[in-house]
């Protein structure tokens, strides 16, 4: 009989023996810091939420204020889980033929899904908040009930995510709920946030209502057990769905001459694989990065910070895609290395794609004109800088990054260490700090416009040295060739 402890041991071995864990000490420490950082932010937010709410709306009960915006967290939780949480189904395969009862395996799979980072996050967030509430003389029992309710909701999302298994319809319905509720709120018809707030308040006032979230989470748990139990066959559950290729005409790429086959491949790479599509999503999120800064008056007087934001608005795709070149091609790197492919062509194609990403982001960022032409001009200057300099700096970083990527699998949260390579981090610094410096000095000495022109000139200089940069990256590729091939052969 296989005990739960046996499963746990297997999991532990999988965790400690995975390639990313066997990396150098520096990366482990860095990872530790990163987890502490995000965990710390969550805890701080949990502690601070009460006081922030008090500050923002002094006349309202801070607990009610928090409840009123809690729906935002729920939606964010849903989206994050949809895009980033990996379902633990796949590891079941080797156990299927072993003398382990189905029930046990399934229970373990469920248990495993509960221990995911996405379920620890709400604990970090809401335990401190609950404690703060109790300290402010909220009834401890009622507060605890409320806490359990919120946790059950989060777990319900966890199990729902499991059930829907990357179903696009779910995502689009979620998206439309968000859009419609925003519209309804805007026209004053219905305020979902406020309504949800009422529900959360009611949960606190009438603790017996806890049966609703508890029933919900229990039913979803049962539904999952049933689904897994019925689908415990290779062809149903474990193997991935087969999709058919769409016929697409790429003849328009002909104008790019010898780069065309590479560009065509890269477009297919992005459109047909899960991981690169995640990058597109992150790039879209970066587009909204500016809202964070431009809506706050505190930053109006510190335009250096705005320069910082401008880089990210148009650079989302460039930075996230670029730092994984050539890792994107890791699964067939040996083919590329033994075929008749000059590095320069390969790099140029990737570069073009990154430039294209900046241009598209720039067009999409047009609504930022709302915040004023100077903001928009800054985004434009940032785009030039991204195209001219950041593209090459990112590619250099990517060339030193030798983490293989499994294209058609979602990234595990924190499993992707590629961005946390110390060398890469060092190379990453100028990507954001150089434009800030380029802006700050002329801005202080002359004026705002001079700062913008300075950023843009930085970009143009980069463009002028294009072939120098390409040769430099080529040299890195050549020097690291065997290392890269060997690294890409490892299981990621």
């Amino acid at each position: 009989m296989m005990r739960i402890s046996e499963f746990l041991r297997l999991e532990w071995l999988q965790f400690t023996r995975s390639a990313y864990f066997q990396k150098g000490l520096a990366i482990k420490i860095l990872m530790g810091f990163l987890i502490l950082y995000f965990g710390g932010i969550a805890i701080l937010l949990g502690v601070g939420a009460y006081f922030i709410a008090e500050e923002v709306a002094p006349d309202v009960d801070p607990f009610v204020t928090v409840n009123n915006i809690l729906i935002l967290w729920i939606i964010a939780d849903m989206l994050l889980r949809y895009f980033l949480q990996q379902l633990p189904v796949i590891n079941v395969k080797p156990l299927m033929t072993l003398p382990v009862s189905r029930k046990r395996v399934i229970r373990f799979v469920m248990l495993k899904s509960v221990t995911s980072f996405f379920n620890i996050l709400p604990l970090l967030l809401f335990i401190p908040f609950t404690i703060v509430l109790v300290f402010h003389d909220y009834n401890p029992i009622q507060t605890l009930v409320w806490f359990v309710g919120i946790l059950s909701l989060s777990l319900s999302i966890n199990f729902t995510n499991f059930l829907i298994n990357k179903n696009n319809t779910y995502f689009y319905s979620l998206l439309s709920v968000v859009v419609i509720s925003f519209a309804l709120k805007y026209f004053g018809v219905f305020d979902l946030g406020f309504f949800a707030g009422l529900c959360f308040n009611a949960l606190f006032d009438k603790p017996y209502l806890i049966f609703i979230p508890l029933t919900l989470v229990y039913m979803l748990y049962r539904a999952n057990i049933k689904l897994l139990h019925d689908g415990f066959y290779l062809d149903d559950m474990v193997t991935q769905k087969v999709t058919l290729a769409q016929e697409t005409d790429f003849s328009w790429l002909k104008r790019f001459g010898s780069l065309a086959p590479f560009l065509e491949n890269d477009i297919k790479l992005i459109s047909r694989n899960v991981r690169p599509r995640q990058v597109l999503f992150i790039a879209a999120v970066f587009l909204f990065y500016g809202l964070f800064f431009y809506t706050q008056d505190t930053y109006k007087d510190v335009p250096v910070i705005l320069a910082f934001a401008a880089i990210f608005i148009t650079g989302g795709f460039l930075l996230t895609f670029g730092q994984q070149v050539p890792s994107w091609d890791s699964q067939y790197y040996k083919l590329l290395m033994s075929q008749n492919i000059p590095y320069r062509q390969y790099l140029k194609a990737k570069w073009m794609l990154m430039v294209f990403g900046v241009l598209v982001s720039f067009v999409l960022s047009t609504p930022y004109i709302y915040f004023g032409w100077d903001i928009y001009a800054m985004i434009a200057a940032g785009a030039v800088f991204n195209i001219g300099l950041n593209s090459f700096v990112t590619l250099i970083g990517g060339a030193l990054n030798r983490t293989p990527i499994v294209l058609n699998e979602k990234a595990k949260a924190f499993a992707n260490t590629s961005g946390f390579n110390p060398t890469q981090l060092l190379i990453g610094l100028p990507k954001v700090f150089l434009p800030m410096i380029l802006f700050y000095i002329p801005y202080k000495l002359i004026n705002f416009e001079a700062g913008l022109i300075s950023i843009a000139i930085g970009g143009f200089i980069g463009l002028a040295f294009r072939s120098y940069f390409l040769s430099l990256i080529e040299k890195i590729y050549l020097k690291g060739k065997y290392k890269t091939i060997a690294a890409f052969e490892q299981e990621p």
Partner: protein, 236 residues
């Protein structure tokens, strides 16, 4: 065509391959046999400059493979699935390889139409991605892909493994007719002594990284190989 000069490869001071001298003339079909860990894949990887030789070097058509990339235009290989691009359909993969080898779409179409029988109606026109094909069908795609653009040297690692019996026979015919008609140099490794003796004019046996036998294939070769590998059984 291919010459090996004092080639050796070690990992952590443990030598896995050591070939002092080996010459493979143009147009020869060359078979490599040996048990697991004998160094077959290591040798092929060195030929394709995928790993760095510890000592010595290989020249291919006069080009030193670890110093120049000029061997790439006339060499092609299929070692394992990492030579396939999972998110492409078989046709797209062939076109991609074709473009790298200076063949346009219609050249490639004409070329792959010869192999319709080989594909057995399971590969072309199905719009399936390579990652969704069975191991055997993936292999078929990789093997044919390695023949696109009339390369002078074709390197195949374990081409018969994972293939169904009919396809194994077809592959043997294919290799034989290619060597006869186009004078392509084939380098093939295999665990299947029967198949490899049938398609190769010359067979080299590797053991623990050393060349143990270098045979010109004749009707007795299969027996000789079989007795050699059975001896290993007795020793152990």
């Amino acid at each position: 065509m291919i010459t090996v000069n004092n080639l050796s490869k070690s990992y952590n001071n443990i030598e896995v391959l050591n070939i002092a001298e080996l010459a493979i003339p143009k147009g020869q079909s060359f078979g490599l046999v040996g048990n697991n860990g004998a160094g077959k894949t290591t040798f092929f990887s060195l030929l394709l400059d995928l790993i760095r030789p510890t000592n010595g070097y290989i020249t291919s058509n006069g080009v030193r493979v670890d110093a120049s990339e000029d061997w790439k235009p006339f060499t092609s290989a299929f070692l394992d699935e990492s030579f396939l691009i999972g998110y492409l359909t078989p046709e797209e993969y062939f076109y991609f390889i074709g473009k790298l080898r200076g063949q346009n779409k219609s050249d490639v179409n004409a070329f792959i139409s010869q192999y319709e029988g080989f594909f057995n109606d399971e590969i072309l026109g199905k719009r399936k991605f390579l990652r969704d094909l069975s191991k055997g069908n993936q292999k078929k795609v990789g093997l044919i892909g390695a023949l696109i653009g009339a390369p002078e040297i074709v390197i195949l690692d374990e081409p018969f493994a994972n293939l169904d019996p009919t396809t194994q026979i077809r592959l043997k015919q294919l290799i034989k007719s290619e060597t006869e008609n186009t004078h392509t140099t084939f380098l093939i490794s295999s665990h299947d002594l029967l198949h490899v003796t049938e398609v190769s004019e010359r067979i080299v046996v590797l053991e623990k990284g050393q060349v143990i036998k270098d045979l010109h294939t004749n009707p007795e070769t299969l027996k000789e190989l079989e007795s050699y590998f059975s001896e290993a059984l007795d020793v152990n």
